[in-house]
């Protein structure tokens, strides 16, 4: 690519693009950063930063309702992510390593949840669970969350599996390893980073969900985002800021962890 270097530099550094990118990123972060900043405000006001204080966080941690909702959310996310990861792993093994007739159809079904608008999924689940008699509550939430988590877990697992040399499994067979041992000794250890990424992705998607959870949650099975929404009825209080900031923290941690795992692979 050294030939027309000056020219290709031309198209790579188009004027204004860098500025646009910076502004775009600023636009994406500014509201969040502002939220986090004001969660430390020692006064109640949103317009004036009085001083820095942990008081709103203390209030949040002392609040039983919030704690209950948070526990529900985490439990739900852990269960949904784990079940989804196991199912997605099985599916990935089948799709990547085996001959599947009508692979395109299977692929479409696996990606189906990603294509449906969330509100449609939400009310469809509501209609389904009430018509089947399962009602609302934690059980229905688990089922609905697991379902939409599957494609999110599936993507990193498939990516990792396809980048694995299939000759490794052939070599293991050549060296007298039976199918189950091939899986546990060779495939699984090498797949591990993909599994972790998939789990983390599914976890955060479940934790973040609002609209589906709000349709399906019943008394006692509120999730944290649904509870935050109900807190909004009293306006955007500093407690809301604090809880929201905590959710930002969790998201950031998950993404960074996921990124570190991905980095370690290469």
């Amino acid at each position: 690519m050294a030939l027309l270097d000056t020219r290709s530099k031309d198209i790579r550094n188009l004027p204004g693009f860098g500025l646009t990118a910076t502004l775009a990123v600023a636009f994406l972060y500014a509201p969040i950063l502002f939220l986090v900043l004001y969660s430390f405000n020692s006064g109640r006001s949103i317009s004036r930063l009085d001083g820095l204080s942990w008081q709103w966080y203390q209030a949040v941690f002392a609040n039983e309702e919030i704690a209950g909702a948070a526990l529900n959310s985490v439990l739900l996310a852990v269960i949904a992510a784990s079940v989804a990861t196991v199912m997605a792993t099985a599916a990935a093994l089948a799709m990547v390593r085996m001959k599947v007739r009508r692979k395109a159809a299977a692929y479409a079904v696996l990606n189906f949840p990603l294509m449906v608008p969330e509100i449609v999924t939400a009310i469809a689940s509501l209609i389904f669970f009430s018509s089947v008699g399962l009602g609302l509550g934690f059980g229905s939430l688990v089922i609905a969350h697991t379902t939409f988590c599957i494609p999110f877990a599936y993507l990193p697992i498939t990516a990792r599996l396809t980048s694995m040399d299939p000759a490794l499994e052939s070599a293991a067979a050549d060296l007298f390893a039976r199918p189950w041992r091939r899986f546990t000794l060779i495939t699984l250890p090498l797949l591990a980073p993909g599994l972790m990424s998939g789990w983390l992705l599914a976890f955060i998607v479940s934790l973040d969900d609002f609209i589906i959870s709000s349709m399906l949650s019943g008394p006692g099975s509120t999730t944290l985002p649904v509870h935050i929404y109900s807190m909004l009825r009293l306006g955007i209080t500093p407690e809301v800021n604090a809880v929201s900031s905590l959710m930002v923290l969790v998201s950031a941690l998950v993404v960074i962890t996921s990124g570190l795992i991905a980095r370690k692979q290469t």
Partner: protein, 361 residues
């Protein structure tokens, strides 16, 4: 591996075929392969890419199933048996070393799978590592090894369980030239020492000629010729083999009254139906160039030197005057001869006895 039946034949392939797809678009990767690989021999499958040699190796190893035909290993039909049930081990083209295991764990893997006692595994691993001269590397991971070292680990790993047949899928192709040369002799020596039957796949004819006891030259899914290296080189059975192995001058000719008549060259002794089209195959190093004035009956020519190329260790000449350009190589000089000719010179060619092969077109 408990089937130590003492047949002389390590592997017998009968009517073997592998077809992909159906009907008009079916692709015959292998077509009616019949061959026998003898115990303790270094057997090579040689051919250009796409000829079916790797497919054949995979069928023997159990990584693929034939569409028709039978494979017998030491007298036992292995149809349907997966690789883990065959007394055969493989050295893969890109080594396929387990990246998350150490060298020692890689080498000992098969024995671990077979449930051998720990002491035996440790001892065998040590022996194998010494055999391929990688002492000191036992605790390294594959990503800490050079290409040549990886290749040796792959070899040790496949030899550790003591197979009767070793399959090698172009194991030297990823190595640089000097290393490749050295590995050739090492592999050959290893095969002699251990007495294991080697089935070696390569597209490199120098390798095949240097290492093999017998070679099967393949093209289009079929065996074109099977024989010892000398036979393959000196007496190619058809046009493909003549052209693929070594360089060859391939000259169209027609059988006439006195033999095969090649335009611009003369008549060469040959038998066959009068009027039949044939191909004359002559190796470039088996022709001598003489000045045109010295042409005798039986010599080919007259021809004109069109190009002289200095190749370092030899001189290569392109001669015009026949239907196709002819290539002749001469040693550069010194004790082996000091002939040289300039472009434009009129010359003729004298072939060594038996150097001209008459092949069906």
């Amino acid at each position: 591996m408990s089937d130590l039946q003492d047949h002389g034949d390590a592997c017998r392939l009968t009517g073997l075929g592998r077809v992909y797809g159906k009907g008009a678009s079916a692709h015959h990767a292998l077509d009616n392969i019949n061959l026998t690989i003898r115990a303790n021999e270094f057997f090579t499958l040689l051919g250009p890419s796409g000829c079916g040699k790797t497919t054949l190796l995979r069928l023997i190893g159990g990584f693929d199933q034939p569409t028709v035909g039978e494979i017998a290993i030491f007298g036992r039909n292995v149809a349907g048996l997966p690789p883990e049930d065959r007394p055969v081990n493989t050295v893969f083209q890109n080594y396929a070393l387990f990246p998350h295991l150490t060298v020692a764990e890689n080498v000992g893997f098969a024995l671990r799978m077979l449930g051998r006692p720990k002491a035996e595994i440790v001892a065998t691993v040590a022996r194998m590592v010494a055999l391929v001269r990688l002492e000191g590397m036992e605790h390294r991971r594959p990503d800490q090894l050079s290409g040549g070292q990886k290749q040796r680990v792959a070899l040790a790993r496949a030899l550790a369980p003591g197979p009767k047949i070793l399959l090698l899928d172009e194991p030297l192709s990823a190595l640089d030239a000097k290393l490749r040369q050295r590995m050739r002799s090492e592999l050959k020596a290893l095969q002699r020492e251990t007495g294991i039957t080697f089935v070696f796949v390569t597209h490199d004819q120098d390798e095949a000629l240097a290492m093999s006891d017998r070679i099967a030259v393949m093209q289009d899914g079929r065996v074109q010729q099977l024989g010892k290296p000398e036979e393959i080189y000196e007496a190619p059975a058809n046009r493909f083999v003549a052209d693929f192995i070594g360089g060859a001058n391939l000259i169209p000719a027609r059988i006439g009254a006195g033999g095969a008549m090649a335009e611009g060259l003369g008549v060469v002794p040959a038998t066959g139906a009068v009027g039949a089209e044939v191909t004359l195959a002559i190796r470039p190093e088996r022709l001598a160039i003489l000045a045109a004035g010295l042409q005798q009956p039986g010599d080919l020519g007259p021809l004109r030197v069109a190009e002289r190329i200095y190749m370092g260790n030899e001189l290569s000449f392109r001669l015009e005057g026949a239907t196709v350009p002819l290539h002749v190589t001469l040693p550069r000089g010194g004790l082996r001869g000091a002939q040289d000719f300039a472009p434009g010179e009129a010359v003729c060619l004298r072939a060594e006895p038996g150097a001209i092969r008459v092949l069906a077109s």
